[in-house]
């Protein structure tokens, strides 16, 4: 069973790689920091994998850890230095980061606008855009469902205003 664990973990990461990348992208604008954050998230996921509680979905567990690590990441002084072992360079290879065209441009604006939000609002909007139910969002963030709905309403307004200002 113990030897199976890394394989199960790796396939879990492979299936949900988008979650990790999107969270890292929302919290880290610079690509070097982003790489570090992705590694940190995967390290902490692996570290917590033993204690995974099947009361929750894998994705709920992943979002909680990824968001907690991402929000805490910017507050740390010596990021990579604090890890006990050196880490490999690139966990994810992104074939084409800058997808061209008008849609590509809009996506990059959306990412930019998300990056400009407050730490907790970033988490909420990511979960909203991933089309998670209000109950799931409440479960991941610990914010009450009513509060989730109010906050998301406010964030949507901000995003719309930012897109509108592009055309002004």
């Amino acid at each position: 069973m113990l030897s199976e664990q890394p394989a199960i973990f790796l396939s879990l990461i492979e299936t949900n790689k988008g979650i990790i990348y999107k969270v890292a992208n929302a919290y880290c604008m610079h690509s070097e920091d982003r790489k570090d954050l992705i590694q940190e998230i995967i390290v902490q996921l692996w570290r917590s994998f033993d204690q995974y509680n099947d009361k929750y979905k894998y994705t709920t567990w992943m979002y909680r850890i990824a968001l907690n690590v991402a929000i805490s990441f910017y507050r740390r002084e010596n990021r990579r230095k604090q890890l006990t072992n050196p880490l490999p360079d690139n966990i994810f290879d992104l074939a084409d980061e800058n997808n061209g065209g008008e849609t590509g441009k809009q996506i990059s604006y959306l990412n930019q606008f998300i990056g400009e939000l407050k730490e907790l609002d970033k988490a909420l909007v990511l979960l909203y855009l991933e089309e998670k139910s209000q109950q799931e969002i409440a479960e991941i963030t610990g914010i009450s469902e009513t509060n989730v709905s109010t906050r998301i309403g406010r964030i949507k307004k901000i995003l719309k205003q930012k897109f509108a200002s592009l055309n002004a």
């Binding site: 909680r64 002084e77 730490e119 719309k160």
Partner: protein, 217 residues
């Protein structure tokens, strides 16, 4: 742009990522072989070291106060007493931080975990306030009866100016080292350096979290 357009844009982004994002399996596999500590437990050693040094210091000064109590002058006893009391307070804060480190679990909901982590960081500012509060006693512990009886006016004047200015600075700093003053020049001067940025950001986040926790109730 409407809600559904934003969501559809995000879906497209997700699809594009799915197509172009490859997990470097070999590198990811290396992580599963590492014996990694949580980033929280990496904070433990320095805190434990500080507590150990603090306890040794407090123990030594306590012994000194008890042993010298019958013979030492009151200036020394009171100054050392205040210093040791404030150091004990700082040790209590560090112990509280260790409890928070122990309790924090990154697989818990974001609000809970971040509240613990931000509290952990923000209490560091309390240690600094306490550190400044003990400034005056470093200018009084060496006073003695003979110095006061046989000193001259110049000595009295210099001593009084130094002690009073330290008392003023200590009280002023204790009262004013607050998040609200984070943008003031003097604050930036004291808390200059990258190690303080996370503390300030934590307090910022803590304020946001407190408001959310109130709304949640």
């Amino acid at each position: 742009m409407e809600d559904n357009e934003i969501i559809s844009l995000w879906r497209t982004y997700g699809q594009r990522l799915e197509e172009s994002l490859q997990l470097n399996r070999r590198n990811a596999e290396e992580i599963t072989r590492l014996k990694v500590k949580s980033f929280l437990s990496s904070m433990k050693p320095i805190k434990l070291f500080t507590i150990a040094v603090g306890i040794i210091w407090v123990g030594l000064i306590d012994i000194l106060i008890i042993k010298l109590f019958p013979i030492a002058n009151w200036f020394f006893i009171i100054s050392a007493g205040i210093q040791v009391l404030l150091t004990k307070l700082a040790i209590v804060i560090y112990l509280y931080q260790l409890i928070l480190i122990h309790e924090a679990d990154i697989s818990e909901p974001v609000l809970e975990t971040q509240h613990k982590l931000a509290s952990l960081r923000s209490t560091t500012i309390w240690v600094t306030r306490i550190l400044f509060l003990q400034l005056p006693v470093w200018t009084t512990f060496y006073w003695n009866r003979s110095m006061l009886l046989n000193g001259n006016w110049v000595l009295y004047l210099i001593q009084a100016a130094v002690t009073l200015s330290f008392i003023f600075a200590a009280i002023w700093l204790f009262r004013n080292i607050r998040y609200e003053n984070k943008d003031k020049k003097w604050f930036r001067l004291i808390f200059n350096g990258s190690e303080w940025d996370p503390v300030i950001k934590s307090i910022e986040l803590l304020n946001e979290l407190k408001a959310l926790r109130v709304e949640n109730k």
